[in-house]
Symmetry: C2
Subunit: 256 residues, 2 copies
Amino acid sequence: MIGAGNVAWHLSHALKNASLEIVQVFSRRMNKAKELGLAIEAPFFSEIKKINPNTDLIILAIHDDAIHKVAHQIREIVGWETPIVHTSGATPSLDTSEGLEGIFYPLQTFSKNKAIDLHEVPMCIRGSSTKLEKELIELGEKISDHVTIISDHERAVLHVAAVFVNNFTNHLYSIGRDIVNEENLDFNLLHPLIKETVDKLKFSDPKEAQTGPAKRGDEETIKRHLDYLNDKKQWQNLYSLFSTLILKQTKKPKEN
Amino acid sequence: MIGAGNVAWHLSHALKNASLEIVQVFSRRMNKAKELGLAIEAPFFSEIKKINPNTDLIILAIHDDAIHKVAHQIREIVGWETPIVHTSGATPSLDTSEGLEGIFYPLQTFSKNKAIDLHEVPMCIRGSSTKLEKELIELGEKISDHVTIISDHERAVLHVAAVFVNNFTNHLYSIGRDIVNEENLDFNLLHPLIKETVDKLKFSDPKEAQTGPAKRGDEETIKRHLDYLNDKKQWQNLYSLFSTLILKQTKKPKEN
């Protein structure tokens, strides 16, 4: 396991719980390597040259911008045949010409101190050989009930969509919290509403489930809200842009 | 109960389940009045002049733009002393000079075919007299565990915030779905991620929980995503605006 951040942490625990052996844990930061190593009872190290080439799989769960560089360094030590996979949604695949490589991407957002049942998490898999891909699927199925083969292009598309539904949604929560906190109101008042918005996805298309002033074409309320946001120009811009998009979607003839 | 839409439907059922009597159900559309009336075993009608003035409370759960007009019509029939409340987050309070009035606003999004436990839903209350306010609190507590007194200004603020965390979030889900569907990918792949984004709110400030390319300042990924959205200018604008806001928040010194 290369990396000791949130993804490495959750993945290592899930693999260990599935009775798989983590041969080594590496992190450039020794304290991080130690923390994870001790937690899953695996040897840990912080010098890349100490990597043990005698392993079935090397998993890179590190920062996106380090993936290709670190993969190249490891490749020089372990040789062509040891598969190296990375766990990133955003990063293109490793260079196949350098050796066996693949993708082992859990489509989820991880926080270290919050347990996640990986069985519920889609594992997106790709391997540069049929044999490796089959092995990665088998590995994925040990920790997840939702293993899916995904091309680099599909992964890139999923990642764009994930940014909208996860990162941007989270920022909307942040704005909502700022708005109510500024008036000394409790953000928890909005929690049931937030939860219900998600629950509705299980049984209806979000287009059909859309509600609110823009959906109703309620210009008076929209104007009141824009006035309220007058000293927060960027939130006001965001409000206008969303309202335009929702209004446009509402007016569009229904797709078949 | 004036109205037979989603809010009227859920509120009527909750009140009936709390052993309260719904004296009458009114809707301009007879079929809607009948449907709700039969469901909760209450008389129903579609002519406003047939309203029974002999009731403790009149609840307006109708379209925002009809609230003040309909309240005025009803007031002329029932007189000053029968309290009229409305259930809207967006609409200013009724005219106190016309009689006893108040707010009975369940802070939630309702779909007719989806059951909601109102006990979990914040009931936002206001009454034009202390006695009425007390009665509305008692009524609210029969159907909800989260009754809170809220001024018109606070309600307006909550509603702006609700538009961000509910309506706009839902539109982000809609965009996410369009993006993955266009590539024949399954939107359900994103569901665990969406759910986790919400679950995190329970134990962390969304600012702290923010992740993604903008948060990391990963300009390469942002550029790739903007390129991908090149023929969807409005989504591209939304992406840029969110990235700017998240980047700005990240760079800001931490608040105490």
